[in-house]
């Protein structure tokens, strides 16, 4: 992976075309308690293994993607458009 990423719209593209946001977490409801928001913004699991991330194809189709990747081997399990995964709140 670290050199090539599969974009569902554009195919296999070099890493330089992408911007990585970070963990693909589910956003809490606007009226959720402070602790939920605190965890969402500041706490991360950082596993060595399967990890879901938001990637932006900045120099390509400019769609947000959810990439499931192994953080130890860099193998990509899946790469899908964020809208299809139901994650539309991927803005920074």
């Amino acid at each position: 992976m670290a050199s090539l990423v599969h974009c569902p719209h554009c195919g296999v593209r070099p890493r330089q075309e992408f911007t990585v946001k970070g963990a693909a977490l589910v956003r809490p409801a606007p009226d959720a308690d402070k602790k939920s928001w605190m965890d969402y913004v500041y706490l991360r699991e950082n596993p060595s293994g399967r990890y879901e991330e938001f990637w932006h194809h900045s120099s390509g189709c400019r769609r947000w993607l959810v990439v499931i990747r192994d953080t130890a081997t860099h193998e990509i399990e899946a790469s899908r458009d964020a809208a299809l995964v139901g994650q539309t709140d991927a803005r920074t």
């Binding site: 050199s3 070099p14 890493r15 911007t19 970070g22 991330e53 990747r69 953080t71």
Partner: protein
């Protein structure tokens, strides 16, 4: 960028920008770092790069370290040094010792509290927000 006493130039580096435990980086990062090096010292273009390596950086959410006591008695925290660790070791050690000995933070590290995230007092030198991979 620094030069060892043997003559070799050691320079770097960059974050890969994504979580990784593989400790090997990628070619794109190597190219970026080389370009940055050459921008600083143009005559590097005729000097050969010998070896590249990558490690694991413990990135905090605002790119700044945490030196603080915790909610557990006698348990103190000095972590989240990102990639600034090695050279900051002497000062960090001194300030940490101050905290352990006196029970209060040294002036220099007064703001490096663990609860700064919760309270909104991030030390965000890059102005990037809670994005550990861009600091």
């Amino acid at each position: 960028m620094s030069q060892s006493d043997k003559g070799g130039l050691v320079f770097g580096g960059d974050l890969d920008g994504y979580n990784s435990y593989a400790q090997r980086g990628n070619l794109a990062t190597v190219e970026n770092v080389a370009e940055e090096g050459k921008a600083l010292i143009p005559s590097l273009s005729r000097v050969r790069m010998l070896r590249s390596w990558g490690g694991i950086m413990d990135m905090s959410m605002d790119g700044s370290p945490i030196i603080d006591r915790t909610h557990l008695d006698n348990l103190y925290l000095n972590a989240g040094w990102c990639y600034g660790g090695f050279k900051a070791t002497p000062a960090s050690g001194f300030c940490f010792a101050h905290l352990l000995a006196k029970g209060t933070s040294h002036d220099t590290t007064r703001q490096m509290r663990l609860d700064r995230f919760e309270r909104g007092y991030l030390i965000d030198e890059n102005g990037q927000g809670a994005q550990p991979n861009v600091h």
